[in-house]
């Protein structure tokens, strides 16, 4: 498969409006019918530094970022210098004409002529758009939408776009980078992973979201907060992450579907609460957007190194489900699955995403919301036995759930070991029964667990095993490997716990070479697979420098 995509980069420093530019560009592309994969690379600062906003676009299956660019719009000298090596041989760098940079790959734009200072970034963007044949109209509309609340800015940017397109039409050296003709006619959303989690949660019936700001999870909360005026949801910034999870548990116990979102460090503070969710048997959905650790680490980069922590966080023994979406669509659907699982099994469920996916905008078909019913909370207003037992011992371990205040039944939640009514018990036999009850729910979760997806020819020689956000790069890498004559396929886990081992073992069966692809340094998922299935993967492709795994990275490492 020859690659028919165009890879674009907008680079500059924080404060230059890269996010706005990138989003305008991506939105225009999606509206025009192209695919996009956005990769954001920023630093933990508000002004300065070196940030990039990459948009890979085109038609067909575009699933992952690529390392080399057709066009780089460099908003300052530093970017032109730093990102130069990332240019394809026939690529172009667009810079303001004042920029001190020379090469035959550089095209200089007279930005000062095209717009006044505050609109120059959009003017530059318009030149890039013109270069790839993106329509002026569609770009203008995307810019106007972005500045809908500031009419003056909207007009100013529109004017700048007009001038820039005019200039570009007669400028030399901008040819040869045209977008392939768009194929998609349907209206689509421009959505990133975190927004999809927020949408999935709302469609599940989320009513209470508590959080403490933490990159790269914050935008889940911001998306939900932006819905507060029109949807029945409360979004509350808590005093700390401990409060966030305990608020969610209080709300959920009382019958308001609840979620929290954070990154590894905030999750660390929530682990006692995770254990409480399990003991008190309260549904709780926890979204962890991973970034490189330990400790504060690299706040604005990506990694997949909190898998083992998420699997074992919380003292004591209890079941949990851990989802790991590989696409923006999976962010939506697995968030829905998380709410269902949490409610059905009354306990903690984790969605494990990461900065790359959280921030990666894609073109997504609108979800068929009519077919996405919310979860039903509790079992209605009547206990089936009287008096009601909050922790009734049942075959499946799951106890029918009533909500406090919604019937005459008295409902309890208890963090101590307790009897069926939820009252403190130190009786060893009660303890054993209750521990068994809780663990039995794990069998139910296992029964409903989503097995790995397989992409590629059956019985491929080379099997790339991956989980979470590396899916796109794995699929593209396998396809590139097949182009080179290697029979390659991908096994992707969108649920990393619990694991159905027999299914996995048989699915792995025939591959001659199995390679684990993970965004961490110690191949955590491979270790988990060995623990659970006995299959030892000895070949790893790992990345832990803060960047997402790309298809090229995989191919290089495959050797």
């Amino acid at each position: 498969m020859t690659d028919k995509s165009i890879n674009l980069r907008v680079g500059g420093e924080a404060g230059q409006g890269l996010d706005a530019m990138g989003e305008i560009l991506a939105r225009a592309l999606v509206r025009q019918g192209s695919e996009v994969v956005v990769t954001r690379d920023y630093q933990s600062r508000i002004r300065g530094g070196h940030n990039t906003y990459d948009v890979r676009t085109g038609t067909g299956r575009i699933l992952a970022p690529r390392e080399k660019f057709d066009l780089i719009l460099a908003m300052n000298e530093e970017t032109a210098a730093i990102d130069g090596p990332a240019l394809k041989d026939n690529g172009l760098i667009l810079v303001d004409e004042k920029t001190n940079a020379e090469s035959d790959r550089i095209v200089k734009i007279p930005l000062q002529e095209l717009a006044e200072a505050r609109y120059r970034n959009v003017a530059a963007l318009a030149v890039l758009a013109a270069a790839i044949g993106l329509g002026r109209e569609i770009l203008t509309r995307a810019a106007r939408d972005r500045f809908a609340k500031a009419p003056e800015a909207a007009d100013g940017n529109a004017e700048a776009i007009g001038k820039a397109f005019k200039w570009a039409a007669s400028a030399a050296g901008l040819e040869g980078k045209k977008l392939p003709a768009p194929e998609v006619k349907e209206k689509r959303l421009l959505l990133n992973g975190n927004q999809a989690i927020a949408l999935g949660a709302l469609s599940s019936g989320l009513k209470f979201y508590s959080f403490y700001p933490m990159t790269p999870a914050t935008s889940i909360g911001l998306t939900l907060a932006s819905a507060m005026k029109t949807m029945d949801v409360v979004v509350e910034q808590a005093e700390d992450e401990i409060a966030a999870i305990n608020m969610a548990l209080g709300a959920s116990f009382t019958g308001a579907p609840a979620m929290v979102g954070t990154s590894g460090g905030g999750f660390a503070l929530m682990t006692e609460g995770v254990s409480l969710a399990a003991m008190a048997e309260i549904p709780a959905v926890i979204a962890i957007s991973q970034r490189p650790g330990p400790a504060t680490g690299l706040p604005a980069s990506t990694e997949q190194a909190d898998l083992e922590f998420a699997l074992h966080a919380g003292h004591g023994e209890f079941p949990r489900a851990v989802y790991a979406p590989g696409t923006v669509e999976q962010c939506f659907h697995l968030t829905r699955a998380a709410f269902q699982t949490a409610e059905k099994f009354r306990g903690p469920v984790i969605i494990l995403t990461d900065q790359f996916l959280a921030d990666s905008f894609r073109a997504v078909l609108p979800f068929d919301l009519d077919r996405c019913p919310p979860i039903s909370v509790g079992m209605g207003n009547r206990a089936d036995s009287s008096p009601y037992k909050s922790y009734a011992l049942t075959e499946s371990g799951a106890s029918p759930r009533l909500l406090p205040g919604m019937s005459d039944a008295l409902v309890g939640a208890d963090s101590d070991e307790h009897d069926e009514f939820g009252h403190i018990s130190e009786d060893p036999e009660v303890r054993r029964q209750m521990a068994d009850k809780r663990l039995k729910k794990g069998e139910g979760m296992l029964g409903e667990a989503i097995g790995p997806d397989y992409h590629g020819p059956p019985d491929a020689d080379l099997l790339l095993v991956c989980w979470g956000s590396t899916l796109g790069s794995a699929i593209e890498a396998a396809s590139m490997a097949r182009d080179k004559g290697v029979s390659a396929a991908v096994m992707h886990f969108s649920q990393v716990w619990p694991l159905r081992k027999d299914e996995i073992i048989s699915a792995m069966g025939k591959a001659r070479r199995i390679v684990a692809l993970e965004g961490n340094a110690t191949a955590q998922f491979a270790r988990l697979l060995r623990r659970e299935t006995g299959v030892e993967i000895k070949d790893f492709i790992l990345r832990y420098d803060g960047y997402p795994i790309t298809p090229e990275y995989v191919l290089r490492e495959l050797g």
């Binding site: 949807m231 409360v234 005093e239 305990n246 209080g250 009382t254 308001a256």
Partner: protein, 282 residues
């Protein structure tokens, strides 16, 4: 209406003579006076001797983690405002492990009540100093005496202009029940710090100590901040008991459009609104 309701009688794990017994009795009588059905009450607690209270009367209960009752209680109230939500825990739970939530609850002002069984000691873990222990309080963990200055929850609450601030004493059940009624019926976050003798681990703040000192507050307008602050800081030969400070202000729920439309529980998803929201991403 007293005694029209019955909240059950349960065996407790408390020491004979402990102040918790009277606080429990006062709570039951307060609930009865408010004619609250058990099903409409949610008691939220942490971990400690005081925090066992919800197990000793008929009610809905959420006996959560040590120090974490307030966030759970605030959110539960938001989810179902029809519930009367009372957080009840010890001084260690509320001002020690839970100190940050104490500050946040005052600022957030959910319409809940916090009843603190303030025995100036960590009872359940066998007698270490708590935030309210007097300086120099000797325990096995503090053989040299407690070294931190005691925390004055009332002064901090008044300084933060909390919505309702009161002090009670376990030794006066009648007036304690009365304070509970006033705290619970107050709209907004109500702090009721109850002086509670721990007969096992606190040999300083005994029944007698308080009986000799506790004085009901008279002729005080709880809107008077300056006087409230003076009362909150008073600790010595006379310890004032009663409502110290009161200020009406918007509660947590008042700020959210979703909550203005009633409880979150059982609220359906507005599919049209959701579709519109989704389409805003197109």
């Amino acid at each position: 209406m007293p005694e029209t309701r019955d909240y059950g009688q349960y065996e407790t794990a408390w020491c004979p003579g402990c102040g918790n017994h009277s606080i429990l009795a006062a709570l039951k009588s307060a609930l009865a006076r408010m004619d609250l059905a058990a099903r409409d009450v949610l008691l939220v607690s942490g971990i400690g001797q005081a925090a066992k209270t919800p197990h000793y009367l008929d009610c809905n209960f959420f006996n959560g983690l040590h120090g974490r009752s307030l966030p759970a209680a605030a959110a539960a109230k938001a989810a179902n405002p029809a519930l009367t939500v009372i957080a009840e825990s010890g001084d260690g739970c509320s001002y020690g492990e839970g100190g940050n939530h104490f500050l946040a609850a005052i600022r957030r002002n959910p319409d809940i009540t916090l009843i603190v069984h303030d025995n100036q000691v960590y009872g359940l873990t066998k007698g270490q100093a708590s935030p309210t222990s007097p300086e120099g309080f000797v325990t096995k963990a503090q053989p040299l005496g407690a070294t931190s200055s005691p925390f004055n929850p009332l002064a901090v609450a008044v300084a933060m202009e909390a919505s309702f601030v009161a002090r009670g004493f376990a030794g006066n059940q009648e007036s304690l029940a009365d304070l509970m009624v006033r705290a619970v019926t107050h709209r907004g976050f109500a702090l009721l710090d109850v002086l509670q003798p721990c007969v096992t681990f606190n040999r300083i703040n005994t029944w007698r100590f308080y009986q000799e000192r506790c004085v009901e507050i008279k002729d005080h307008d709880p809107a008077d901040w300056e006087k409230a602050m003076r009362l909150a800081r008073q600790w010595g030969d006379e310890i004032p008991i009663g409502v110290i400070f009161k200020r009406e202000k918007p509660t947590f729920a008042d700020h959210f459009p979703a909550l203005k439309k009633g409880p979150l529980v059982n609220k359906p998803v507005d599919l049209e609104a959701l579709k519109k929201f989704m389409e805003s991403f197109a």
